[in-house]
């Protein structure tokens, strides 16, 4: 499988001790996230760490080079980064005068031996910033430069620039780029103003062999596949079909999470009957008194056998009156253990409020994922409150998962990978429209299928990991 660039972005600054920005990783197989953390300073202020989605676990620093007075480059990678849009944070041990950080995600990358031997160089004066990196046909070389050339730099040798910033602080220029693999690849940049000092680093990224590659614990094998559109009905005895995610076909071993939410006038808790199809387990149902028409959130889950049709939920009579209604929506996860529950669902609810933090959960096994599922009693276009995401990623949110049919309500789903078992705090949800309304929530943890990793003899030897 050929290596392909997924996405690249970055940022820069002066006098900062960390930089953070969003990076989006697409749902592709055999993913790798590469980060360059470069700097300009009178001392070696190489980054002390990198995080993605709030986690520093799994990051490997593959090179670090400081050329005294004034430039430094460092390269980091993470195998199998989470799919979605998350914060990248590069932290420096002190505050360098100049800072540059960029991220590039790739797919089709070998998951157990993702990179080759890195090369770095630093020179106090030169016209071309250049190194030779050992590579091979079919590989892709990633290189980055910190250059004294405040007037700019230009990539050489048929390289492709991914994120270039010139003249930061009226002083230096930085770039990250890629080159096609060959036995030896010359990674380089022309420096517009010469002679100039520079630091350069590069490494060759190796392609996957096409099948499911080995994986590098402790990265969880679980991944989010997609969420289907919301469907709503207010007809007693009618059915609501929880659509599959776009372009998805039911696949053996995947976990389907079906979320039904709505309002009814039963007066006490009333969950709809089990959805159509086989294998369902009710994860939980939560009732919240609102008034004449109350809020109810119910979640079921099952492991798919493959080839199933979209499930339907029948609308109970109490959900069908003028201000009633029932919605159904599906989310799919992959790499989940056949007995998917890691920790029993935690149910909670709250009175009318614009924001709410559902009760958290304590996971049992490393690599579990926590799902925060909520509903609110109006068409509130739910989202995570900025700054209080707790590392969760939104999967169902906004106006696409609320309704004004019958009894208005809204649904939200967010999830988070938990590398080490323990207590997990839920994110704070926010009613971005027509708040303030009541809440119901179900927090659930799903267990990783570690057996989806290859046999132990195929894993990277421990000695190799240590040497890295």
């Amino acid at each position: 499988m050929a290596i392909a660039l997924d996405n690249a972005t970055g940022t820069s600054g002066t006098g900062v001790s960390s930089l953070s920005w969003n990076h989006t990783v697409a749902n592709q197989s055999d993913r790798l996230l590469f980060v360059a953390g470069n700097w300009g300073a009178s001392s070696d202020y190489g980054p002390s760490g990198v995080t993605f989605n709030g986690s520093g676990t799994g990051w490997v620093q593959v090179f670090d080079r400081y050329q005294a007075n004034w430039n430094g480059v460092s390269g980091w990678y993470l195998v199998a980064p989470s799919v979605g849009t998350f914060q990248v944070v590069v932290t420096y041990p002190s505050a360098p005068l100049l800072a540059y950080a960029a991220s590039a995600s790739f797919y089709g990358v070998h998951q157990s031996t993702p990179v080759g031997t890195p090369t770095t160089d630093g020179v106090t004066a030169g016209t071309i910033a250049e190194i030779s990196v050992t590579s091979a046909s079919g590989e892709l070389v990633v290189g980055t430069v910190a250059s004294d050339s405040q007037e700019g730099i230009s990539i050489r040798n048929s390289g492709a620039t991914l994120y270039e910033v010139e003249n930061i602080g009226a002083d230096c220029s930085y770039d990250i780029g890629t080159w096609s693999g060959a036995s030896t690849v010359t990674v380089g940049w022309n420096q517009t103003v010469t002679p100039n000092s520079y630091a350069v680093g590069g490494v060759s990224v190796k392609p996957s062999s096409g099948g499911a590659e080995g994986h590098q614990p402790p990265v969880s094998p679980i991944s989010f596949v997609g969420a289907g559109a919301q469907a709503v009905s207010t007809t007693s005895g009618g059915t609501v079909s929880a659509a599959w995610p776009a372009a998805y076909t039911a696949t053996a071993g995947d976990l389907q999470v079906l979320i039904a939410a709505g309002k009814h006038n039963n007066g006490t808790s009333l969950a709809p009957n089990t959805p159509s199809g086989t294998g369902w387990t009710q994860i939980g149902t939560r009732f919240r008194e609102v008034g004449t028409y109350d809020l109810q959130l119910t979640v079921w889950a099952r492991i798919l056998a493959g080839g199933e049709s979209a499930s339907t939920v029948t609308v109970p009579a109490a959900y069908s009156t003028t201000s009633g209604g029932l919605s159904a929506q599906t989310a799919i996860y992959r790499g989940v253990f056949a007995t998917p529950e890691d920790a029993a669902a935690v149910l909670s609810d709250a009175a009318a409020a614009t924001t709410w933090t559902p009760t958290g959960i304590t996971t049992a096994d490393d690599g579990a994922w926590v799902l925060s599922i909520v509903a609110s009693a109006d068409d509130n276009a739910l989202g995570l409150l900025s700054g209080s995401e707790q590392g969760f990623a939104e999967r169902m949110s906004g106006a696409s998962y609320d309704t004004t049919s019958g009894g208005d309500h809204a649904v939200g789903l967010a999830d988070k990978r938990i590398d080490s078992a323990g207590a997990v705090t839920c994110p704070t949800w926010n009613q971005t429209l027509v708040g303030t309304d009541a809440w119901a929530g179900i927090t659930w943890a799903i267990r990783a299928n570690w057996k989806s990793f290859p046999p132990i003899e195929q894993l990277t030897p421990l000695r190799t990991l240590i040497l890295r």
Binding site: S20, W21, S42, S386
Partner: protein, 121 residues
């Protein structure tokens, strides 16, 4: 270029505050956030954390866009002069979208004096 925020120099005690939201004119693609460094105290730790949130729908929904932290004390440039400002620069998406809004969340961990600007180009 458009200036979305321009606060003259003043002292901010430790705490949090939010500036904006401000409308981002269409066609502009770069965001620059600048804090002047006016004798910031050297506490051995970060004295400032900022995050910028971006809305693409007129302020109905917000998402983190970028941020930085900064330490106090004196940072010297290559000429030996104190660095005058901490800033970050980053791209802004969707330049044709008239619904873009920005807001700036500022957290100070010690009392510090700064002028703040937020420009888009």
């Amino acid at each position: 270029m458009a200036n979305l925020l321009s606060r003259t120099s003043q002292t901010y005690p430790a705490g949090s505050r939010t500036f904006g939201p401000a409308t981002v004119p269409t066609g502009l693609t770069q965001l620059v956030i600048t804090f002047t460094r006016e004798a910031w105290p050297d506490t051995g730790a970060d004295v400032l954390r900022i995050t910028a949130d971006l809305s693409l729908d007129g302020g109905a929904n917000w998402a983190f866009h970028c941020g930085f932290t900064a330490r106090g004390g004196t940072i010297l440039d290559r000429g030996g002069s104190p660095l005058g400002a901490s800033f970050m620069r980053i791209a802004l998406p969707d330049p044709s979208n008239a619904g873009r809004r920005l807001r700036l969340n500022v957290q100070t961990f010690a009392s510090l004096t700064s002028a703040i600007t937020m420009d888009v180009t």
